[in-house]
């Protein structure tokens, strides 16, 4: 490993931020400094001296995110898709603002549902590209949810990308255990379409 090096680091008492003089700054160091400042900001808002172990969750943030999600769901049911999308977006941003030391498993659960709901809202507006990316995010966060794979496949299908749609449905069937009927139906439907091509 390289030898230790003391850097001419600067701590600004007013802004409470750390920085390095420009001559010292490399892209990597700049990234690290930025990450450090963000971590310090999160630590200040924490009531404790050090972050709790990962299995404790911030209750207040949960409730706020849930409220936004529920509001979004209500708008969706009323057919107000743009409002629903806006609510889901706010919820996602709030979820992403959690301090980095909180249990990543919980963050994945929460966000995968939000992205999946937003995908559905986009699909109701026929915004296939946006819906596809949200479904992609949802699948990445949690692989064993049939709905998310289904939505991803359908978006690809409606955009005419039939082979990708077929792959998406197949991956969905392989990754999930239950409720595979919709996926299987969708798969055979898209296969027929490919044959017709």
């Amino acid at each position: 490993m390289d030898s230790e090096a003391i850097l001419p680091i600067i701590f600004d008492e007013v802004t409470k931020r750390v920085s390095l003089p420009d001559e010292e700054l490399t892209p990597k160091k700049a990234e690290e400094i930025q990450a450090l400042n963000l971590m310090y900001r999160d630590l200040i808002s924490l009531n404790a001296d050090v972050p709790p172990p990962p299995n404790q969750i911030n209750g207040r943030l949960n409730d706020q995110v849930k409220k936004l999600k529920d509001t979004g769901n209500v708008s969706f049911k009323k057919g107000q898709y743009s409002d629903a999308i806006r609510m889901y977006t706010l919820a996602i941003e709030m979820g992403l603002k959690r301090p980095l030391w909180e249990a990543s498993g919980y963050v994945r659960e929460e966000l995968s549902v939000l992205y999946s709901n937003r995908a559905q809202a986009y699909m109701s507006q026929s915004a296939w590209a946006e819906a596809l990316m949200d479904a992609e995010a949802s699948v990445f966060l949690k692989k064993n949810v049939p709905k998310a794979h289904y939505r991803k496949g359908k978006c690809l299908q409606y955009m005419g990308r039939l082979r990708e749609a077929k792959d998406a449905f197949q991956i969905g069937i392989e990754s999930c255990e239950n409720d595979l009927n919709d996926l299987k139906t969708a798969l055979s439907e898209v296969c027929d379409l490919i044959i017709d091509d």
């Binding site: 850097l7 701590f11 450090l36 050090v50 990962p54 990543s104 963050v107 590209a129 946006e130 005419g160």
Partner: protein, 205 residues
């Protein structure tokens, strides 16, 4: 028979032994130099250097929470490096057994592992200085930070892709609509009786 000097064999032996001695000292010195000058496995440990620099600062004195944040960042980088070492180890072990990699690489790897252990020990000590008992959770917290960072990185990538996908789909829609309209006009003239396209989907690749 030609006269050979008495000193000839002695001179020969002296020459031989002195050249052997010279060779072995040079070889040993080179070996030590090679070990000392081993190229480090990883690039500079910025997080650690920042932590040490902050710890040293007296004017202005850095707040405790900032030091703790810096130690957390240091532990996070350590976790990333440990993961890299753990992932590379099985492959390196096998390659080394098959003599597909040189001794120097193997020595570097082992040295890096030892240095990594020492670094972790140092972090543990620093953690207990900053807050007694923190050492128990420091690395668990750091591991979670690494997972969360990866999550957010991938999500940021997907969000970036969204714009490109939107553009791609807009172009695709235009192209297909234009082509389809031409097709239909060709087949039906200007008749209003056009076939339903929803079912077929736009099967253009």
């Amino acid at each position: 028979m030609a006269k050979i000097s008495v000193y000839a064999p002695i001179a020969y032996l002296v020459l031989l032994l002195s050249s052997l001695a010279l060779f072995s000292t040079i070889y040993r010195r080179r070996k030590v130099q090679r070990l000392v000058g081993l190229k480090p496995w990883f690039p500079a440990h910025d997080a650690r250097n920042i932590y040490l620099s902050l710890k040293e600062k007296t004017s202005p004195k850095v707040p405790e929470k900032m030091l703790r944040a810096a130690l957390l960042r240091r532990a996070t980088e350590d976790i990333k490096r440990i993961m890299v070492l753990q992932e590379s180890k099985p492959a390196l072990v096998e390659l080394h057994q098959r003599s597909a990699v040189g001794d120097e690489l193997w020595t570097r790897f082992l040295a890096t592992e030892k240095l990594m252990d020492a670094e972790v020990m140092e972090c543990v000590q620093e953690a207990n200085i900053l807050k007694p008992g923190w050492a128990q959770t420091l690395f668990a917290t750091a591991a979670e930070i690494v997972h969360n960072e990866r999550l957010r990185q991938r999500l940021a990538q997907i969000t970036e892709q969204k714009e490109k996908e939107k553009e791609r789909w807009e172009k695709e829609k235009e192209k297909v609509t234009v082509e389809f309209e031409k097709e239909v006009e060709g087949a039906y003239g200007t008749s209003a009786d056009k076939p339903d396209t929803k079912k077929k989907g736009k099967n253009k690749k």
